[in-house]
């Protein structure tokens, strides 16, 4: 075991959270008993861990205070509940932030808003029957193959090419926008979703407004997000309830 391996395999964090097996644990201990550099890293990480245990809720308002236990391998199973509490605390957290006090894009996005901004990739079911395809449709089909495999970054070039070949097709714009958001190209993703909306009525219109709201939340622009969510609540159908829930948390 060497310092590089420890860094690469994140052994300090795993050691501190009880996620090493016995042999790995002993190997790491043998290493840091002879390595001042790794000992220092361990000491600081442990200090931070203690403070995060004690002060977690102060650091992230309204999060659940973590239990002071030797966290076992299955700790991840509790994460969903913890995250739900984080999200649930957004309303109070937001009171302190004040909707008018954080101009869009000028401050970092709070962690709690980022949780609300999480994007679940919308499902895509390819048509069962295919007629003669133009080039745009072919590129779209290729891109969506990657999309279905969860390879959003790899889907982008094909979807971009498809959008250039057929700029008026809402489905191409929409999924291109989603892929861009999922690969952290938020501004470009927003642009594509706006274009989807500007194409007018389509089966993707409601979803485009909804995901645009998510993208704005990711950027910390709550005002713009609310406007999109209000649209979904007033004029949408499938995502109405979800939009209402997010709006309630933002209030």
């Amino acid at each position: 075991m060497d310092c590089d391996q420890i860094e690469r395999e994140e052994l300090i964090e795993k050691y501190l959270t009880g996620r090493l097996d016995r042999a790995e644990q002993e190997g790491f201990e043998a290493h840091y008993f002879s390595c001042p550099k790794c000992l220092k890293k361990l000491e600081v990480s442990r200090l931070l861990q203690e403070k995060l245990w004690e002060q977690g809720e102060k650091i992230l308002p309204k999060t659940q205070k973590p239990h002071r236990v030797w966290i076992k391998r299955r700790a991840w199973a509790f994460s969903a509940a913890a995250v739900a509490l984080v999200v649930g605390g957004v309303a109070l957290w937001w009171q302190f932030m004040g909707p008018g006090r954080a101009p869009a894009g000028t401050e970092e996005t709070p962690f709690s808003l980022m949780m609300l901004a999480r994007i679940e990739p919308p499902s895509y079911i390819p048509p069962a029957l295919r007629g003669a395809e133009d080039e745009a449709a072919e590129r779209f089909r290729m891109g969506m193959k990657h999309y279905q495999d969860g390879l959003y970054g790899e889907a982008v070039p094909d979807l971009r090419a498809a959008a250039e070949l057929n700029p008026e097709r809402a489905g191409i714009r929409f999924f291109l926008g989603i892929c861009l958001l999922l690969t952290e190209k938020t501004n470009e993703g927003i642009e594509e979703l706006r274009k989807t909306i500007s194409l007018g009525d389509s089966v993707y219109l409601e979803e485009a407004h909804f995901y645009l709201a998510k993208a704005y939340l990711g950027k910390g622009d709550v005002g713009a997000a609310k406007a999109e969510l209000n649209w979904v609540q007033e004029k949408g159908s499938n995502l109405k309830e979800e939009a209402a829930q997010i709006l309630a948390q933002l209030r």
């Binding site: 000992l39 442990r46 962690f111 980022m114 999480r118």
Partner: protein, 196 residues
């Protein structure tokens, strides 16, 4: 372990075995941080960790005096093993503490090099503020990543799912945030504003 250290450990072990009192302080000074890191990482409170570290150091001394360390150049591994055994015993049975080690001296003591041992309430508060201040200097998303990593025990892949980011992004942000904090806290330590 580099070869140059082998001689050093051997020398220290032999001095301890010979009953050199000054070497006891050296042993404590050299290995207290390692043992404390081990015990505090695996137990729930610093007070218990400190007690176990003391026991471990006494047990090491006792073993050395009795000539039970066959390869003195492997002193660090021996200290680590002793500490690990005591911690495991403690974890297995909180009620049953290992028997106190008798050194053959009436009042054998190991100097306590832990700066926290005599830390006052105010000093503890200040230390907490220093660490908190450093944490608050991070972006919220990075604080979130550290919270989920160190306090909740999630790995980057699991955090990525929770936060809707890529695992590589989580890993990169976590590494950068930890490096930044380490540098900052190291500076504070050098200025005497923090002990760990």
């Amino acid at each position: 372990m580099p070869d140059r250290n082998r001689e050093r450990w051997k020398d220290l072990a032999l001095r301890l075995q010979a009953g050199d009192a000054a070497s006891e302080s050296e042993l404590a000074r050299l290995f207290y941080p390692h043992l404390m890191a081990m015990a505090a990482s695996r137990l729930s409170d610093r007070e218990t960790a400190r007690e176990i570290v003391q026991e471990a150091l006494l047990a090491v001394l006792s073993a050395l005096r009795q000539g039970r360390l066959r390869e003195p150049e492997k002193l660090p591994a021996f200290v680590a093993g002793t500490g690990r055994n005591l911690i495991n015993s403690h974890v297995r049975s909180l009620a049953k503490r290992p028997e106190p080690v008798t050194l053959g001296l009436e009042e054998a003591t190991i100097p306590d090099p832990d700066p926290d041992a005599s830390e006052s309430f105010l000093e503890k508060e200040e230390r907490r503020d220093v660490v908190l201040g450093a944490l608050r200097g991070l972006k919220a998303v990075d604080r979130g990543i550290l919270l989920l990593t160190l306090a909740r025990g999630l790995n980057p892949r699991e955090i990525a799912v929770e936060m809707g980011l890529k695992p590589e992004t989580i890993r990169l942000r976590k590494t950068r945030a930890l490096s930044r904090l380490r540098r900052k806290l190291e500076k504070m330590k050098l200025k005497g504003r923090l002990n760990y």
